[in-house]
Symmetry: C2
Subunit: 502 residues, 2 copies
Amino acid sequence: MKPETIKKLEELKNCLKEIHYLEHASAILSLDRSVSMPKNGSKDRGEVLGCLSNIVYNIITSDRFKNLIYSFQEEDLDFISQRGIKKLKKYFEDMNKVPEDRQQQWIITTSEAQSKWEEAKIKDDYSIFKPSLEEIINMTREFLEYYGYEENPYDALLDKYQSGLTVKKLDKVFYDLKEGLVDILNKLKESNVIIKEDFLKKKTCKTQQKELCMYVLNKIGFDFNSGAVAESEHPFTTNTSNKDIRLTVKYVENNFTKAIFSSIHEGGHGIYEQNIPESLSDIGLNGAASMSLHESQSRFYENIIGRSYEFWKGIYPKAQEIVNHLKDVSLDDFYKAINKVEPSLVRIKSDEVTYNLHIIIRYELEKMIVNGEVNLNDLPELWNKKYNEYLGMNAENYEDGILQDMHWGAGMFGYFPSYALGNIYSAQFLNAMFKDMPNMYEEIGKGDLSHVNKWLRENIHCHGEIYDTDELLKKVTGEELNCKYFLDYLRNKYSKIYNVSL
Amino acid sequence: MKPETIKKLEELKNCLKEIHYLEHASAILSLDRSVSMPKNGSKDRGEVLGCLSNIVYNIITSDRFKNLIYSFQEEDLDFISQRGIKKLKKYFEDMNKVPEDRQQQWIITTSEAQSKWEEAKIKDDYSIFKPSLEEIINMTREFLEYYGYEENPYDALLDKYQSGLTVKKLDKVFYDLKEGLVDILNKLKESNVIIKEDFLKKKTCKTQQKELCMYVLNKIGFDFNSGAVAESEHPFTTNTSNKDIRLTVKYVENNFTKAIFSSIHEGGHGIYEQNIPESLSDIGLNGAASMSLHESQSRFYENIIGRSYEFWKGIYPKAQEIVNHLKDVSLDDFYKAINKVEPSLVRIKSDEVTYNLHIIIRYELEKMIVNGEVNLNDLPELWNKKYNEYLGMNAENYEDGILQDMHWGAGMFGYFPSYALGNIYSAQFLNAMFKDMPNMYEEIGKGDLSHVNKWLRENIHCHGEIYDTDELLKKVTGEELNCKYFLDYLRNKYSKIYNVSL
């Protein structure tokens, strides 16, 4: 590269560093808010976060920064810098699409809506949340027009979480997925296998749960020199850099596997972030390719690894040592219990087979909402109609029905598909991984996951945001988005557990 | 006040708010560093804190801010605003006394010295720390000349932690204090009373210790809606506002009272901060009057309340319920054990009687160091000589000797006297409090501390930084700094415990 280009890249690196520092501060302050902050600290904390985000906004919208970004010529740059500059330009353009006063109103509206949602959920009263939801939907529809879209307005929302994703693409994949899942579910119903799971509900003290979670996180390759675990009501992952990843877990006394699987899930997000090379931060590409790719990693670890027979084979003696009451439970019974398929009303309590049906329900409803095809008064009824159709169940309260998720209150229309895509990608990656390492499960059975971690790091994590999700998928698997591998994975696994042909 | 003055005060309030927000962020990031941050996050965190402090520095040194401060005329202001502006001006003047490049060098030097001190302490090797200590001392002596002083160079350092404090004043008080303490110690040696304390060393699990600490903190009036407790290697208190105070505690398995008394100590700091009115933040007076006044509150709660017979009388049944092995220990035996007097080598392990002798040793050494009267090679020997003279003991390693405190590595020459002053003030306050509420101990004996908290809030805490320490002391007690009350308090308490005439 020309000396002048190198000099400008150095300047950009310094700007990004300052932004990174302020975002680092915000991440820790937000984490602290969920994990440790006392109740009365709330108002101040909101203002501090607002102040920091204002400083970032002023840097990003400064002429100096903007002129710098637009001063680069593509032909002067190497490949990675080209991608970085492209991403920064898109970021600018997206940011400038929505008028500033409307952006600020959005922050206020979604912040209020989240409180209303919480209150509504606690009181099990949809009417408390409805006015806020309506406002968010109206603003979302207004914003869609700023963002722009080619075919379906909902495309503009999908694009936010996975660049280039469209309704056209998703409709097809979700149709195939739904057909496959419903078929599997129907066949599983004919099985005679009865799965016991009472031992999963036995009281397990926090100290034991914690010890097992830390053991498991260590096992899957989460690096505690560059990460730590805290407690919060809803588990999540946050990070300041690849050297400081924070996971949160919730320990439930009479459901100890909840903490374990959410540790593995969040650990999967964390390992992804830990493996992204620091050097990519120089050009702002040190994130994940997309939210769905992030979910593909967390769900790969949680389900494909964490609910596999081999994984537990490798660590079961240790688990029995830590959680005493597992001494009377065989590995086989334990494995079946953690994989029991049972339609439920609540997404986050659902199993691998039914999970994606929860997502498809939300996807279908969101499209209708965004396209103005449903009256908010009728939404709870429509919700139940869909649950009846896909899962044969009816929510008897709002808490287990339309108020179960925080996403709409946070204005995150378009996010839900990321979870299902994450599942689909995870199985596509498994297929590619298995081709490269046919004895991978044997190694896992010995309690060794280093090869899995290495493969993911070298094939996926090391690329950060250099490639779009589609490109990366193609690069790693040679294929496009395809739900076949996920359905095959389920058929193979569950036909053995339930002793039926799928 | 004139409308123009009100307008300018409003502008000042907004500036102070922005500074407050950034300091809020730094406080939480520093807390997180001690409490949760993984090892590899260290380098980034240092840079983030540097970035935030730079932003604050830029606001404070901006012409806008400076001109604003100096635009106020004293006669236009009400009393509190006068005091606030006076404090801000002093802050400016002090800041401008040291050249900027030397200030930055100071941050680097003390940061390195702290690491060297840690390493030296672990390896028990004074020579590792000595070069850093020498550099810090040289810089401290250089800075003294910038600060200026009237009589003794050390006065400039004392002034940093308690405005207006001088060697002349301290020498006199510490002389009286030393005489009194040595006299008490000699008489206690003649006592026949033997105090058992083996039960304090019994293994107590963290869950029980935690429960008792939270119970005790609640009891003394620490408000958990505006505060929280975390764990760290060295206990400390930090805060972002009166609505968010964080204490840290260390739980030691075979020494459960360590966590309890450090909880009460940090709780005392915390209650002080919680009780400072928020309105004082508008003019930057929402801190403590001085560090010694801060210590007076923590040590009031820790010792005068927390080691009193009546306090434990009020809560002992509950303590026995939580810590099972206390069931076999009488209240009397427990009370004596937590008040056992025994000269020791380590300041933070020492009792109420000998504690101040540790401080006086440091004070005497610091004066010599600052006045260039001691060669650093001879310092350990001099340290031992003083310990021999005052406490009849010799440190056999550096860890329990000259390397025990972090203060010198952090460049905090002049801070140690705050602890002894804190003790002296706490007894002066006790005397005033007892005059106002002669039945205060009866109430405490019933487990009720609300009157103590109310008295401290109304007489001390509510004033924030409006008054200097001397003024506040006069206002509350009608007297100046006087160690008589502290010595009387010790004589009264320990003559009963040790059954001797003091």
